[in-house]
């Protein structure tokens, strides 16, 4: 029977009906016998359905995404569906949409909007981080648990630093060094996630 890695790598083309008849038959035979891969297929269908239901106006930052996509190197000849750039971009869109929806629901309607919205660069960096974190989550099982623990511990250190910068900016909003530090810390988080997504399997 086809191994799961191969099956997962074919899922994206399967839903796009881009497989050859032989590939399609082999994949369907695998899916019939493999609950885990059927769950992956269901997750992919659900992701695509949610993306289709989103308003057309929400798009990920394309320039930033191009850089991220270039950093996430394939670990096999055919990337699994969840590692395909457009799937990750869709995931980022979903995250943005969900964040916007939650923000909208929680926001008291009559209150005037306070000018505290994150600056555009921070929104963009948060989106890039979210997409990369999603890509890392999809391959955690492929990585050595020790490596994953080190990555998580250090991402937590970075998150604490980001939080420190934000708290400091509340008390000293005009301090340009704090904003520069916040930005640099976000960018370092991206570099760590990019590095994590480049790691070979079982490392």
């Amino acid at each position: 029977m086809m191994p799961c890695d191969t099956a997962i790598a074919l899922l994206d083309d399967y839903v796009d009906e881009a497989l050859t008849p032989a590939e399609r038959a082999a994949l369907q035979a695998h899916l019939a016998a493999c609950p885990a891969c059927r769950a992956e297929l269901a997750a992919l269908h659900a992701l695509l359905a949610e993306a289709a239901a989103l308003p057309a106006g929400i798009e990920p930052p394309r320039d930033l995404w191009a850089g991220i996509a270039a950093q996430i190197q394939p670990t096999a000849a055919r990337r699994p569906w969840y590692a395909r750039p457009h799937v990750l971009a869709l995931a980022a869109v979903l995250l943005i949409g969900a964040t916007a929806a939650v923000t909208h629901l929680l926001e008291p309607a009559p209150a005037p909007r306070v000018a505290e919205a994150p600056v555009p660069w921070e929104v963009e960096l948060e989106q890039a981080n979210a997409a990369l974190a999603l890509a890392l989550d999809a391959r955690r099982a492929d990585l050595d648990p020790t490596t994953v623990a080190i990555l998580d511990e250090n991402l937590h250190i970075i998150d604490q630093a980001i939080q420190d910068c934000r708290i400091a900016l509340e008390t000293d909003p005009a301090n340009p060094r704090l904003e520069a530090s916040l930005r640099a810390t976000w960018e370092q988080r991206i570099r760590v996630l990019e590095r994590a997504n480049r790691l070979p399997s079982d490392s």
């Binding site: 490596t147 400091a168 000293d172 810390t185 370092q188 760590v192 399997s201």
Partner: protein, 281 residues
């Protein structure tokens, strides 16, 4: 104890390898060895020669290409990338080297071309005078004992030690410590979140050092009267060792700024909560 030493060679003795291929003086060579060790040394022959021992019966040493491009890799019995070996690879000094391990220690000595070294948890050690080198690890430590003209070093939690280097140095960690003792440097950029930084390597007369740490402490050893402008600032840490008369209050936090001599070099340090220590001359 004798029994232990008697057993040690057995771990690798059963599967020796010894292969070679023609290699141009400026060839591009890529090496992959997941675990064990990988030592690379320069020699004066137009050959790649690899010798050592494979860890398992089923592991396979794959050597492809010759001349301008060569690839060496240890594969497991299924053709996967989990093969392990203790290898010594000899190469022409001027090759461009790309080497990758997971947990294997990677040591490179004597090469003068461009180096790109990558590991996850293995330690990286570099000696010699490469033209430019990029070294990356997750938890492995990086140690530089060479005079590279340009170094880019990056870890997540591994420590970085630069005992000797020249030119440009860019080093970044999240929680690893940065210890920089080489130099003189034209340009240094050091960045860490929670790791500590020690800079004692000198700058050139027009050199520039930029150091940032979030919660890590930064220590500047005496730079031996280097004519430089120093600008040290911290949000909630302290600047230790600087005369209070030099302190500036132009924003929240502590800032110390002064110039020695003509001040042609610059040293900028910035932390959030980490202290900045200026050791006495």
């Amino acid at each position: 104890m004798i029994a232990i030493f008697a057993l040690l060679p057995c771990a690798f003795a059963a599967h020796p390898v010894d292969r070679s291929a023609e290699a141009a003086p400026d060839a591009t060579v890529s090496l992959e060895n997941t675990c064990g060790s990988l030592s690379v040394a320069a020699w004066d022959k137009p050959l790649l020669q690899v010798s050592g021992n494979l860890e398992e019966d089923d592991d396979v040493l794959v050597l492809t290409g010759s001349g301008a491009r060569l690839h060496l890799e240890v594969k497991d019995s299924h053709g996967g990338d989990t093969g392990c070996a203790a290898l010594l690879v000899r190469l022409p000094a001027g090759v461009r080297l790309e080497a990758e391990t997971v947990s294997a220690t990677l040591e490179v000595a004597g090469l003068t071309g461009t180096l790109d070294l990558d590991t996850v948890s293995g330690n990286l050690r570099l000696q010699g005078t490469p033209g430019a080198a990029t070294l990356e690890s997750v938890s492995g430590e990086i140690e530089i004992r060479g005079a590279a003209s340009s170094l880019d070093l990056e870890t997540v939690s591994g420590n970085i030690t630069v005992g000797k280097a020249l030119g440009r140095l860019d080093a970044e960690t999240v929680s690893g410590d940065l210890t920089i003792e080489g130099g003189p440097f034209d340009r240094i950029e050091l960045s860490t979140v929670s790791g500590d930084v020690l800079l004692s390597g000198p700058l050139t007369p027009s050199g520039r050092a930029e150091i940032s740490a979030h919660s890590g402490d930064v220590t500047l050893r005496p730079l031996h009267g280097l004519p430089a402008t120093y600008d040290l600032s911290t949000f909630s840490g302290d600047v230790i060792g600087a005369p209070s008369s030099l302190r500036i209050k132009d924003f929240t936090g502590n800032r110390v700024r002064w110039t020695e001599g003509t001040g042609t070099a610059t040293v900028e340090v910035e932390t959030h909560s980490g202290d900045i220590n200026i050791e006495a001359q």
